[in-house]
Amino acid sequence: MGKLYVALVLCTAAMLVLVFLSWAGEVTPSKDGKLSGGEYGVLYECAFPNTVVLDGDLNELPWQYAPWHTIAHDEGTGPAPDAKDATCSFAAVADDKWLYVALKVTDDTILTGESFGGDLWNDDSVEVYIDANHAALGAYEVDDSQITIGASNIGADIEAPELGGTGDGPNTGTHAAVVESADGWIVESAVPLKNNKWDIKPKDGLIIGFNIHFNDDDDGGARDHKLIWSLKDVDDQSWQNTTRFADLKFVQLQYAVEPGGKLSATWGQIKQR
């Protein structure tokens, strides 16, 4: 009886885990355990104030502590056959001037240089979506943007990257450091919290509309795979419809304060020397 009981419990648990894994992405909570990280495809918890230096190096303390959400290869309207082909993890932190978004892209073939400007999405690229007033409307307002950052920016000017996107995405003032990694490429971007489109003042509990996409081109021509974080964006309409966005919530939590009293700002300044 006892063995049957254990076997049944194990089988049930395995079944539930399999069901969960097959239909959900992955959330890695903050390293200090203070943030659950939100809910995959629904909410990202963005800690502030935390400052990073844009250089493509994600070993800085905020990125080590921030929650990471991983979009699996089969999440999105254009699934990839396996994780090596296309996967994308992201994290976000903010200070009073910038929303920093880091993306670790797994991509077995980096392809750029065929599409430009408004067509950047046909090459390898990531997209950061902002709905500053969280209106979640069927059409874009002034304060909504799709900011497309191409892998074409690998090694390019961090303060003047080539950007694409709707909602005037290229003119949001976004900076990006893009570098190659062992299994793909990395984007460390900074979206200004104040520009001619929006004025976001982070405070504990403030929510904005937010989404992340990854366009994967394997063989030239049109995009081959499209991974999407927001569970509401089931038809790849975020480029024109903010009802498809998920949420980003600002949470007051400074990761970088350590027993030694080192503040992130201080640490950042040291790093710049």
Binding site: L8, C11, D235
Partner: protein, 225 residues
């Protein structure tokens, strides 16, 4: 302990029913028993179910349709589709699912350069999402749909290509069908495999009369009255 054991047993039993039913039809028996011809001209030819043309729905949209007798919610649908050698690729062979009647339900269409999912509402088709994807219409292709909740994931020759959802989940359950939208050349359907909770195999032709005495052809005639 007893409650936990009972719960586990219930969950396992429920899970065993999720994909309990399977229907396969390779048309090698020379007939299409089980399918109901809703519109258009269909014929079994050399192990294929061939759509030969004709058909129009209430909105004047040309199409031909056959339907399953049972209803389908979540599960998988697999079909091999071949274009005629004279085809120009515009026929749009289609897999229909969760059809609540002849004019309402989901549709997955295979074009010569697109794969797309949409829905029929009152006979009018609207695209939910399609992706550019050129296919070789000179060769048969295997289409597999995995349908769960609001999501449809589509495979072309065993490679996953598109995953689309309907946020409203407009249709939760309904019949499965095959269709062709622009029937200017024959389209060949073969090796249909459908898995789902309420799916059951088609009976052999000799056992086609069910306890209610309803023949598929009679049902079709009644429907057209």
């Amino acid at each position: 302990m007893g409650k936990i054991l009972t719960s586990c047993c219930c969950l396992l039993l429920l899970s065993s029913f999720v994909y309990a039913g399977e229907c396969k039809d390779d048309f090698e028996d020379g007939n299409a028993a089980g399918w109901t011809e809703v519109s258009g001209d269909w014929e079994v030819q050399e192990g294929d179910y061939v759509q030969l043309g004709g058909g129009m729905n209430v909105m004047g949209v040309p199409r031909t349709i056959i339907q399953s007798p049972w209803e389908f919610s979540d599960g998988t649908i697999e079909v091999t589709i071949a274009f005629d050698k004279r085809s120009d690729g515009t026929e749009l062979p289609t897999i229909l699912y969760r059809m609540i009647d002849d004019d309402n339900g989901y549709a997955f269409r295979v074009g010569s350069d697109t794969l797309e999912m949409g829905r029929f509402q009152n006979g009018q088709y609207s695209n939910i999402r399609g992706d550019a994807f050129p296919i070789d219409i000179g060769k048969p292709c295997r289409i597999k749909l995995e349908i769960q909740g609001m999501f449809t994931k589509a495979y072309y020759n065993d490679v996953v290509k598109i995953r689309v959802g309907d946020l409203e989940e407009t249709f939760k359950k309904g019949k499965v069908g095959l269709a062709v939208f622009d029937a200017n050349r024959p389209i060949y359907f073969d090796d249909v495999i459908i898995n789902g909770a309420e799916v059951f195999p088609f009976p052999p032709l000799s056992q086609k009369v069910d306890p209610g005495g309803k023949l598929a052809s009679v049902w079709g005639e009644i429907k057209t009255l």
